[in-house]
Every structure is written in structure tokens, then in C-alpha cells.
Symmetry: C2
């Protein structure tokens, strides 16, 4: 007969080993969806240096601020920013409450799926659509609309929920950084409230670490009920120079790591690079037409031109998606073959 | 002869006890500078409830957001907001670069110590002084000016550095909350950058948890040098309704605890109170003319009138400074007698 104490001890040891081995393997090999290419090497080397107490480039945990663009950096952004697809769907959902939209551009174009007229309306037209669907309601109501859409809408190409079209290698990077006491922020052109509707669940980034474009709000207190109304007046456009400006306004510390994918991230990268000590500047380069999309210098969405030149000339890390990422989305199987 | 091993062991034990006892005492009795009055009881009862996993009012650590006004709540605000005293001193320090100030109000009044003319210039005049001393420079330069002033200036009544005129009971409360996994924020009418110049060192509140009044900034990149210029255009006035608006914009979660001292904090308290579950709303009532100042309904600085009525009618915690605080400032000895 087995001595139950001994059995428990053995079982306990076995359990300990079975748990410890994967953890050790993981500890010795972070970023499993990244090939052992130059990007992975540069990330790990940077993190090891700034967290090494004996290094002259050691950075205290409180100052380990890492900022990430969202569209095209943490999730896909084609055929257009997912938030714009949300706005277009919202026009259709709420059209009955706005009979005037049937005859007013750019709303008429949205309701009639008239892509040509919508394109002709340009950025001004899109801003009208964003304003009409993102404001004129309380913060709580907007959060509900965004969450409902995110749970129901599907991407036209993959058929997946948008919140699954996130980049597995970047999720691993966020996790790796947080384990090394980095504070990970989103700094993106998207509406702050829209991104907060999924960032905590999907990226593990809490609302107070989501920085984006904001509208002026108005606090209301009536009959004992408090609410905050979203008005159509833009408070901050978090694109280009708006990014370092919002980083300073909200965080008040200069990041030591910044990651983007387009010219709209250039100033955030410049601001990060201009600090003293060791810094990491990264760009996702969309080079994989088969698994994701391939676009850069001439794209309307996510144009990467000046920032690519500056990255190349200053030695920033440019992630060639096709060769450096073994897997793009969490729902894919990883490519087993490693590109060296 | 003493056995050195034994000696070390005994010494080790003695050291352990001498360290452990005060820690235990502190753990069983938080908020030592608070008398055992109703305010201390309400704070402790609130914190124990929301951190008790078996309570229906349990709040997850990530959602334990506590917001504090600064002027009059964490430090004194008489004879006027300390930041205004900084602005007046800055006018004098930089007068040589602005010969036109000799003949232009309100600057002339400042340079001539003409209190009557300064008072006549009113809030508009003060805003001009704040604009002239707080903007038109980089964020780094402003931080330097603020830190230099804070290290050199002395309060006209106490002769102490302003950063020592902080409230010991509130420091203990911040510490007590953080030990219970609360995230403590400042939400105050002061300039965010001015408060960040001392908040981390003095209150243990990092820059990203300081929310205040902000000016529009402008990112500059020239000859490889990056900077952020503070412009005189107001971005956000963090007073009254501006407080819940900035809480929503920056934190994106509703606080479960809010502490203020004036009508400018009323909307922040209303927004906090209107959430579901258990909430704590507190007001510091300046009732101690001997140790600090006594003022409320008719004061120009820190007027506490409507908020006092609402606190009384809704059962919020009003801290009677004279009777509830054993010690006001860290540099004082505590009053040993306890008011029950």
C-alpha cells in the first residue's frame, strides 16, 4: 500500500516540476511569437540593460514608461481604422432618429453605401461622422455603444471580431515589459473612450493608461443625478505633435520606449529619443500582404514615410512583420520555421 | 566570554522585536495624528469595508481610486494659494527682462508691492500674472523655476518652506490608502506642472497621478533637439465641474473616495457620490485659527459654503480641523491630549 504522505510529497514534487519547467522555459525565452531576428534581439537587449542595477543605463521602475500607438501597432488598421468602421455602423444604427441624414452628406453616402461620395467627403466628412456618433451623449452611454459594437461587429476580410485582430507579438511584448515593471500606455489617434472600451480586457492596459483624442465634456448635476456629457468640440487631437504633448500632459514623464507604425508617431518617437540615457524606438512595418497587409509610403491609412527614413537613418528598430513575426494574430497557429 | 553566535542570535531577536513592535502598533492603529473622532472612524470603516472580500461593498484594487484636492486639503492655502505667491515672486525675479512691466498693471502693482492695486486687478489680473510666469517657456524650464522657488521661498507667517506646510493627518491618510492598494490622485485647480514639481517628493504621488489646470503646449523639433513649449492658451481649468471632467478624461474610472475643502470641490464630490456601492466623500473644514487658519463661508480663498451645506445634508464626512487633528504640520509636536 502506498503511504499517503509519501504519495502527497511525490505528487507535490511532480506538480512543482511540471509548473516550474514551463515557467523557466518562458523566463529564458520571452517573446515566443518573434523570430530570433534583429527586432527581438534589440528589444531584449534594451530591457535587460535598463533593468540591470549594475548598468550605467539602469532606470528605476517608476520611470519605466513605455508608450504604444494602437492602430497598426497593437491591432490592424485596414481597410480603414476600425473606429471609423464603428462610426459608419453607428450612423446606420441611429439613422431612424436622424431623418435629415437621408438627404445630407456625408451621412447619405454612408446610408447608401456610396463609397465614392464618402471618399469625396474626405477628412472633413469623416470628422462629421465621428462627431455625430461619438458625442451628444453621456460617457456611460458611449461606453455602452462601443462595447456593444465591439462584441457584435466582424471584420469584412477575416470575419473575426475586431478585438481578435490584435498582434500576438505585441501582446507578448506588453506582457514582457510589465513583468519588468514597465508601465505600458497607449498613445494613439483613436478616441480615448473608444479605446478604453476594450484596452483593459484585450491588452491588459487599464483606462488611466489609455491616452487618445478627446472631446470637451460637460459635467451635469440634476435632481441628484450626475453625468458627464460628451460635446462635439474637440479637446485634443492625439496625432503627430499631439502625441508628445499628451504624454507630457497626462504622464508628465518622458517615455524610455516608444512604438508606432506611421508618420503620425514620428514626434512621439523623436520626443522619446531626445531623452538622456538608453532609449528604444520601434516601428511596425506592414510588409505581409499574405497574413496581414503590406503598405507604407503611399498608404492613406497608416502612411509610413518620413518616420521610416528617420528610423533608418537613426538606427531605430524597424520590425519587418513578414520576417520577424512567427504569428500575427492570436487565433493563428504560429509558423514553426524560424527565420534567422 | 560571550559566544559570538549566541550574541548575534540574541541581538538579532532583539532587533526583530524592536522593529516589529512599532510596526504592529502602526498596523493596528492607522492615522495616528487623527483624534478618535467621527472623521477617523468614518475613514477606517470605509476602507475596511471596501477592502473586505466578504463584503457586498468589496472593491477590486484596480478600482480603488481616491482623489484629493491640493490647496487647503493637502497643504495650507492662506494668505493666498501658494502658487500665486510663486507667480508674484516670479514677476519680481524676471522683471529686468520686462521693462514694460514698470508701467503696466497688474505687474506694476506686484513690483511696487501695491496690494490695493493688485486687489483691484481682480481675477483677470491674477490670470495675467499666472500666464506671464507659467508660460512662454519649455516644460523643462518651468519645472526648474518651480523647483528653485519651492526650495528657497518661505511662508510669510510660519517662515517654513511651503512644502513643509502640508497636513500630517492627510499624509497619513494617503499612506494608509496606498497600503490598502488605493491609487491616490491629486485633482486640483493648481497648474499640473507646478504641483508635479513637488508632489512625488512631498506626498508620494507620482506625476501621472497629478491632475490640474493645464495650458496648451506645442511640440518643437529643431536641429535634432526636441522640446515642449508651454503656451498661454488655457487647455483646461481644473476647478468646479472641471474636476469630474478631468477625472473622466485622465483616469476614466469614477473615484470611490474624494476629499476636498471648498465649493470648487463640490462637483468632484457629487460625481464620486453618484456612483454605485459604498463611497467616501470628505471635506477639510478650516476651524483652527490658532494652529492654521479658520475660514469657510465668506472666504475669498477656499470658500466653503454650498459644499458644506450639501455635506451636512447628505452625511458626508466634515473634518473639523481643530477637534479632529492632533497635529497639523509634520514640523509640529502632536497634541498629546485626545479629544474624544
Amino acid at each position: 500500500m502506498t503511504n499517503p504522505m509519501l504519495y502527497r510529497q511525490r505528487f507535490g514534487l511532480a506538480l512543482l516540476f511540471s509548473l516550474a519547467l514551463p515557467l523557466l522555459a518562458q523566463a529564458s525565452e520571452p517573446l515566443p511569437s518573434w523570430n530570433d531576428g534583429p527586432a527581438k534581439k534589440s528589444i531584449i537587449e534594451f530591457v535587460q540593460t535598463v533593468t540591470d542595477q549594475s548598468s550605467k543605463d539602469f532606470v528605476k521602475p517608476a520611470e519605466r514608461i513605455a508608450v504604444f500607438d494602437n492602430d497598426g501597432t497593437l491591432w490592424s488598421e485596414q481597410p480603414m481604422y476600425f473606429e471609423l468602421l464603428f462610426a459608419l455602423d453607428e450612423v446606420k444604427r441611429t439613422a431612424a432618429q436622424h431623418p435629415e441624414w437621408k438627404t445630407t452628406q456625408p451621412f447619405k453616402a454612408v446610408l447608401e453605401n456610396d463609397h465614392k461620395a464618402l471618399a469625396a467627403a474626405g477628412m472633413d466628412g469623416l470628422l462629421k461622422i465621428v462627431g455625430a456618433t461619438h458625442t451628444g451623449m453621456t460617457t456611460e452611454a458611449f461606453d455602452d455603444y462601443a462595447k456593444t459594437w465591439l462584441s457584435q461587429a466582424r471584420h469584412p476580410k477575416t470575419g473575426k471580431p475586431y478585438t481578435e485582430m490584435i498582434f500576438q507579438p505585441m501582446l507578448e511584448m506588453l506582457d514582457y515589459l510589465r513583468k519588468q515593471d514597465f508601465k505600458t500606455y497607449i498613445v494613439s489617434g483613436g478616441d480615448t473612450a473608444f479605446m478604453r472600451a476594450f484596452a483593459e480586457k484585450v491588452y491588459g492596459i487599464p483606462p488611466e493608461q489609455v491616452i487618445g483624442t478627446t472631446f470637451i465634456t460637460s459635467f451635469q448635476f440634476k435632481d441628484g443625478r450626475a453625468s458627464i456629457l460628451r460635446t462635439p468640440r474637440l479637446a485634443h487631437n492625439d496625432d503627430g505633435p499631439g502625441k508628445p504633448e499628451s504624454i507630457e500632459a497626462v504622464i508628465g514623464r518622458r517615455p524610455i520606449l516608444a512604438f508606432g507604425n506611421s508618420d503620425g508617431d514620428l514626434q512621439m518617437l523623436q520626443w522619446t529619443a531626445a531623452g538622456s540615457g538608453k532609449r528604444f524606438m520601434g516601428l511596425v512595418h506592414h510588409t505581409d500582404a499574405k497574413r496581414e497587409w503590406a503598405y507604407d509610403r503611399k498608404s492613406d491609412i497608416g502612411r509610413l514615410d518620413k518616420a521610416l527614413d528617420e528610423a533608418n537613418s537613426r538606427g531605430w528598430t524597424v520590425v519587418d512583420m513578414a520576417s520577424e513575426w512567427r504569428r500575427i494574430y492570436p487565433f493563428e497557429s504560429p509558423v514553426t520555421e524560424q527565420v534567422q
